[in-house]
């Protein structure tokens, strides 16, 4: 599943530095679906400004892992600390983490009964208590950033898949998140639309956003990520910086995976 999308290889991305402050800390995390052990002893520390791509075969637990970070899935063992807040059954902590962590889904999950603008202003108004006018200005700012301000008063059903996904990114950004999670954001899109979404994500990375991205877009991983994580059978098999990961994979499982997709 090689990607044919070309990025600007000469762009200077040296300023995309990683701070040494910890954004997410996962220690000894285990999760089961019934008796099925879906995540096994996950240990992962993400620093602020890191851009991590998680890849692996389907069913390897990569989506489940990032969905645990904003507790769309509950973990049963170990700890997840996001931005200093530990995720537990305390709903207040969960809501706090969720409002700091943006999430983009494979199927966009825009609210079809609201206009694009309302989709973007809903959470700021109801969760952050931002005045409507201010929220609308901010929404327009982010819609301009993802290059679709002219669609603000349309409904999601009237937009193409790529446009919908960019709206979904803008909707998350309106909450001013410190961390963004992407769960296969381009898997449901036509090749022509994948590029526009990836470009939006790259510009986000360039601004220093902490990003965790489950994707099969290896071009994106090479270009933007500072770390690639390979998962299989619910565990982290290998992680490395992208050049090393792609040119010199250590584990046999990784080598097999890369030989299949590249």
């Amino acid at each position: 599943m090689s990607t044919s999308i070309e990025f600007d290889h000469h762009a200077d991305r040296s300023h995309m530095s990683v701070s040494d402050k910890v954004a997410i800390e996962i220690t000894g995390m285990n999760k089961w679906y019934g008796n099925f052990h879906v995540l096994r002893d996950i240990n992962l520390t993400v620093n602020e400004g890191e851009r991590i791509v998680i890849c692996g075969p389907s069913g390897s637990g990569k989506s489940t892992l990032i969905r645990c970070i904003n507790r769309l899935e509950e973990h049963q063992e170990g700890s997840i600390i996001v931005d200093g807040t530990e995720l537990s059954s305390d709903l207040k902590n969960v809501d706090k983490v969720r409002s700091e962590v943006g999430m983009v889904f494979q199927h966009f999950n825009l609210f079809p009964h609201l206009t694009i603008l309302e989709n973007c202003t809903l959470a700021p108004i109801w969760v952050r208590k931002t005045p409507r006018k201010e929220a609308e200005e901010m929404a327009m700012h982010f819609l301009e950033k993802v290059k679709i301000p002219e669609q603000a008063h349309k409904y999601p059903g009237m937009l193409s898949g790529g446009q919908q996904q960019r709206v979904a990114i803008a909707r998350s950004l309106c909450m001013m998140p410190r961390i963004m999670l992407f769960d296969e954001p381009t898997s449901a899109l036509d090749p022509e639309m994948i590029k526009e979404v990836l470009e939006t994500m790259i510009s986000l990375a360039e601004e220093g956003m902490t990003m965790l991205c489950v994707t099969h877009e290896m071009g994106f991983a090479k270009e933007v990520a500072n770390r690639v994580i390979f998962m299989d059978a619910g565990q982290i098999v290998e992680q490395n910086e992208p050049n090393e990961f792609f040119d010199n994979p250590q584990s046999e499982r990784t080598q097999l995976f890369l030989s299949q997709i590249l």
């Binding site: 904003n70 769309l72 999430m103 889904f105 999950n109 825009l110 009964h113």
Partner: protein, 496 residues
């Protein structure tokens, strides 16, 4: 150059469709005469329609409007087939109002203006809920106008003055309404011009006003009941700020119930002794006809939707006790015929009440019909909830919306939209089921029709009465059905 190579030099322009498939001719060809079989069916159907109408219309147009009895009708018709409309002419007030005081008994005054006003105000209260295209000012014109006419027609100097003032207000607002166009007004509002109060305020007051108008009595009763909600809301706001929303809800419900049970009676009595303001009480057994059907129907429809939503959410809840209570309630009510519940309301319930307590029969019926409708409504709403993709819940969660906000802003608007056809079907079903109250002796239109046929003058009249009742029900049910289609069209967001 190979034969396979082809390059389009210019893109094709759009063309109009061929004439034979558009316009009246195209429509008829496609829908009525599409092939030999369909043409034969069309002609046969037209013939059937002709047969039915040629039999029905002469019967309907029969000159018997002023007949005083069935025998009169027979004389007028002189052997021809025809309807005997005299019964409707004589009894329509009864079919509409039952035995609501009409001034015919000694020492009573015609009170029928009260149900009429209630019915008109019902529309004024419901319009801002159902249609958002009607302007605020139009709503106030309707409200002030209706109240003004009611006051003016009551006679008496003081009511006359109030009525004229209300009508003047209505006229003033109407004058303003027709003198400014929409665009100017929108600009005025944007620049901070004063707006009239939201007409939904009246929609909230109406449920307290309507029972007072219909049953009469002191006005302080309904005002006290309304106060209960105000107290509940204030307590909720105060407690939520300190102890969270769950405690807020509990405290609000408790304080409101305490008010209603222990304090409200004293309040109403005290206020009544200071300022006595009331309407002549009318007993429930005088209620009847369409007035009764509409009262039961509107209450059941209005209350069953919110109760149904709560039950549907409860059924999906993770909390064991809440869930089993809701499932138990829904399955019990759905498993029992409405007739049984009505018999419980009319006979059994009195046995369980403390002796001497007078629990109004119509209120008992209202509760039963509402519970019955709620159980069905819960299942309809649950269907809508089940149809929503899981991603909508996840997106709402991921944005940090809590359960109630997610329900209110994301889930319910979509679930209810999906369930509109089912919800309206349930509404229509409930409205028609109100005729079952005739079995426990309430005089709804069907109950009255039996009473009318017991009259020696009209003994033997069947089709005319049932036809009239059917027509009235059809008007209401068909309007509901049309409204639901309008609403579905309005809420569609997936087209250009």
């Amino acid at each position: 150059m190979s034969d396979l190579s082809y390059v389009r030099a210019e893109m094709l322009p759009e063309k109009a469709p061929p004439v034979s498939t558009s316009g009246a001719v195209g429509w008829a060809r496609e829908n009525l005469f599409n092939g030999v079989g369909n043409s034969i069916l069309t002609i046969l159907s037209l013939f059937m329609v002709y047969l039915v109408l040629s039999a029905l219309l002469p019967w309907v147009f029969s000159p018997t409007w002023n007949a005083a009895s069935l025998n009169d009708c027979r004389t007028i018709l002189a052997g021809h087939e025809g309807a005997c409309w005299g019964v409707i002419n004589e009894r329509w007030p009864q079919l509409l109002f039952g035995f609501y005081p009409n001034g015919s008994e000694e020492g009573t005054v015609d009170q029928r203006w009260r149900p009429i006003l209630t019915f008109v105000l019902l529309f004024v209260a419901v319009i801002p809920v159902l249609f958002n295209m009607i302007s605020r000012r139009m709503n106030w014109v309707l409200l002030l106008g209706a109240l003004g006419i009611a006051f003016v027609t009551r006679g008496g100097v003081l009511t006359m003055i109030i009525g004229v003032a209300l009508l003047a207000g209505a006229a003033y607002v109407a004058f303003q309404l027709f003198n400014t166009n929409k665009v100017d007004r929108a600009e005025e509002i944007a620049s901070g011009a004063k707006r009239l109060p939201n007409p939904l305020i009246f929609s909230a007051v109406f449920p307290f006003l309507a029972p007072w108008l219909l049953w009469g009595g002191s006005i302080w009763g309904p005002i006290g009941a309304l106060f209960g909600f105000v107290i509940g809301a204030l307590v909720f706001r105060a407690v939520t700020a300190v102890a969270g929303s769950l405690m807020g809800i509990i405290a609000a419900v408790l304080s409101a119930v305490i008010w209603w049970l222990f304090l409200m009676g004293g309040f109403a009595w005290a206020m009544e002794s200071i300022i006595s303001l009331g309407l002549e009480p009318v007993e429930s057994r005088k209620f009847g006809g369409f007035m009764l059907s509409i009262t039961i129907g509107v209450v059941a429809i209005g209350c069953s939707l919110p109760i149904g939503i709560v039950l549907a959410l409860g059924r999906q809840s993770d909390l064991m006790i809440v869930k089993s209570l809701c499932v138990g309630f829904i399955e019990f009510i759905r498993g029992v015929p409405l007739i049984t519940l009505l018999f419980v309301a009319s006979t059994l319930l009195n046995i369980f009440m403390p002796p001497g307590s007078n629990f109004d029969i119509i209120v008992r019926v209202l509760i039963m019909v509402t519970l019955f409708a709620s159980a069905y409504m819960a299942e309809v709403v649950r269907g809508g909830l089940a149809a929503l993709p899981k991603g909508q819940y996840e997106a709402a969660d991921a944005l940090g919306l809590d359960y109630w906000k997610a329900q209110r802003l994301i889930i319910m608007p979509q679930a209810l939209k999906i369930s509109i056809p089912g919800i309206v079907s349930t509404f229509i079903g409930v409205f028609k089921d109100t005729t079952l109250v005739s079995i426990i002796g309430l005089l709804d239109p069907l109950g009255l029709s039996n009473a009318i046929r017991a009259d020696a003058n009209w003994n033997g009249v069947v089709w005319e009465l049932y036809g009239f009742i059917a027509l009235m029900f059809f008007v209401f049910c068909f309007s509901m059905s049309r409204y639901s289609m309008y609403l579905e069209r309005k809420l569609r967001t997936d087209h250009h």
